[in-house]
Symmetry: C2
Subunit: 342 residues, 2 copies
DNA sequence: CTGTTAGCGCGTTCAC
DNA sequence: GTGAACGCGCTAACAG
């Protein structure tokens, strides 16, 4: 209907429009705009002015058709909250550098059919590579080996060791947490975790036990698994305090669990951190910064995860593929729940 | 370096590969795969089988080059948390229908330079349209009238009335909230809000006053503005209870503020909702579902916002543009903080 | 019904 | 230095 007679100003200028306005051929215009040296400075200036005047932006499609690369990568996520995807996306954008690469974000909502569908859509748009972000740390099915572009798995590794996966070192995270609590002078440490079917909770617990064992210590009572909720944190803390009133630190499986734990401590008049120190995992600002006191937590460095994934993907696109699992370390963010005054 | 010698299986099958394998011309193959009627069933089957065998996926770039449309829209956001963008993205994907349209998500991080940059990147990739999501409800600068594609502004309206904006009816939201509290039998209602420089807080307050006035009531004390944090909720609640112990309901500017308010109420042994009912805005699950009791809140219907935006954008792409501001209504989600047993 | 031709917008040889 | 010609993968016209 409105194809030819488009009245809009900025319709879409093509390279030949620019060339015509500058009085040169399309080839010359192309060279001029792409900074090739085979063109006189004066001519180049004329072309550039014409391009500016028409607010010309090169058609990346046509360019990609020719070059085989589109300067576009797909980011496939299953993370409804955007808790992981957004920081990872930002890290990836940073690593790719402004303007060079654009990122397609698709949310599969944990549905493998939808995921297959998005993969096809992205491949059809000729993305140069794929980043797959999982919502839990357990291995997930591979997209397959016969894809026409490189794939990097992030947070959730691929089940196929031939794929490249970038994950968080959750065992190390558990170790880090305990080491921090010990360096705060705590020795009677309990661990209230989340859903036991998550690899993350098992790994963090393992790291915690290792770090304690290295000092000849062990956890007060067993690890208490439950769910990743404040409600579980409250319930578990009540039981813990009844059974082991001597506890002087509680490591929590997530910041949300920690919030529940802190509520119970306050209600039972245990001072945080003087009587009992509390720590969480994930460093989710909305939970850690506004609690009383602010919550010490282990940050998963999602932005860095995204940056590294982008770098690896870039290398693979350039013909330097990698495989295996690369685990990145975490970072303790100290706040008032373990260190007074922070 | 690895251009010609790509060893990967699924490199990239082109339509002519399919045609050759099926023993037909590319044109016939195209017709067969696109379901045109001008092809014999047997031939079609042969082509489809060949396409399957080569796991052929049509090059959307080449197709878009010809059609002028790419089946791609850009979603430009400034929302670092993904709190709005993700649900809006999901709504848009739903409305566009699976497979027809893909969505590019770019995060401008509130930086207008980065935003301009992303706009150019998206336009260069020939998106068919743009959805711009703001992080607050105040009007934002227009992207300009001379863009080659339609634009729909979501949540934050454009300053230019010629643009089309889809927003949340925050005045109505404030009214809804008060009406719910009144229907729960409350009459001595206070309002603890967030940052007063946000349009949302002013509008919600206005709606609240209107609904009260309609019943011949008014707020207990002035609206208490502060920040969108639990900390402010705690501070404001303490002051409120000291000055107006008779209060029987507190409407909070956000779920986070409400969490702070509820903490103080519990510490002062005011039963929720029996003594004091509490409500929030935004219906942010992680806050509303796990508080004690679960928090009644006003849901902003972000998915619907995304769906409507996608529909309007689709219409505009089809040559049926619209302009002005379209306000969508909100929805009360009732939980235990206002209705016992919920 | 099927094949041939042309062209979408661009970059890259080559000749001039 | 500059321009004409070709091709990337695909679809819309026509021919056959």
């Amino acid at each position: 209907m409105n194809d030819g007679a488009a009245p809009l100003k900025g319709r879409k200028a093509t390279l030949s429009d620019v060339a015509r306005l500058a009085g040169v051929s399309v080839a010359t215009a192309s060279k001029a705009l792409n900074g090739r040296s085979q063109v006189r400075a004066e001519t180049r200036a004329r072309v550039e002015e014409a391009a500016e005047q028409l607010s010309f932006s090169p058609n990346a499609l046509a360019r990609g058709l020719l070059a085989g690369r589109t300067g576009t990568v797909g980011l496939l996520t299953s993370d409804l909250e955007g808790r992981f995807s957004i920081p990872i996306l930002m890290g990836a954008e940073d690593a790719f550098g402004a303007g060079k690469v654009a990122v397609f974000l698709c949310d599969a909502r944990g549905d493998s059919i939808r995921e297959q569908h998005h993969v096809r859509a992205l491949l059809g748009r000729r993305v140069d590579g794929l980043i797959v972000v999982g919502s839990r740390t357990d291995p997930r099915p591979s997209l397959g080996r016969d894809l026409p572009v490189p794939v990097v798995y992030v947070y959730a590794p691929s089940e196929d060791p031939e794929d490249l996966s970038i994950i968080v070192d959750n065992v190390g995270a558990g170790r880090q947490a305990i080491e921090h609590l010990i360096s705060c002078g705590r020795t009677r440490i309990a661990h209230i975790s989340g859903d036991p079917t998550y690899g993350a909770s098992q790994e963090r617990a393992q790291g915690a036990r290792e770090a304690l064992a290295a000092r000849g210590l062990e956890l007060i009572g067993d690890v208490r698994f439950g769910s990743w909720t404040e409600g579980w944190g409250r319930a578990a803390a009540s039981m813990l305090l009844a059974q082991h009133p001597e506890v002087d630190a509680i490591l929590c499986g997530s910041d949300q669990v920690a919030r529940g734990v802190m509520d119970v401590l306050r209600e039972q008049d245990r001072k945080i951190p003087d009587d009992v120190a509390v720590m969480g995992f994930d460093n989710w600002e909305i939970f850690t910064s506004h609690s009383r006191p602010p919550l010490t937590s282990i940050d998963m460095n999602f932005e860095r995860l995204g940056r590294v994934a982008a770098q690896r993907l870039f290398a693979a696109i350039d013909g330097k593929p990698a495989s295996g699992v690369e685990a990145l370390d975490t970072r303790v963010v100290i706040r008032g729940s373990t260190a007074p005054g922070h």
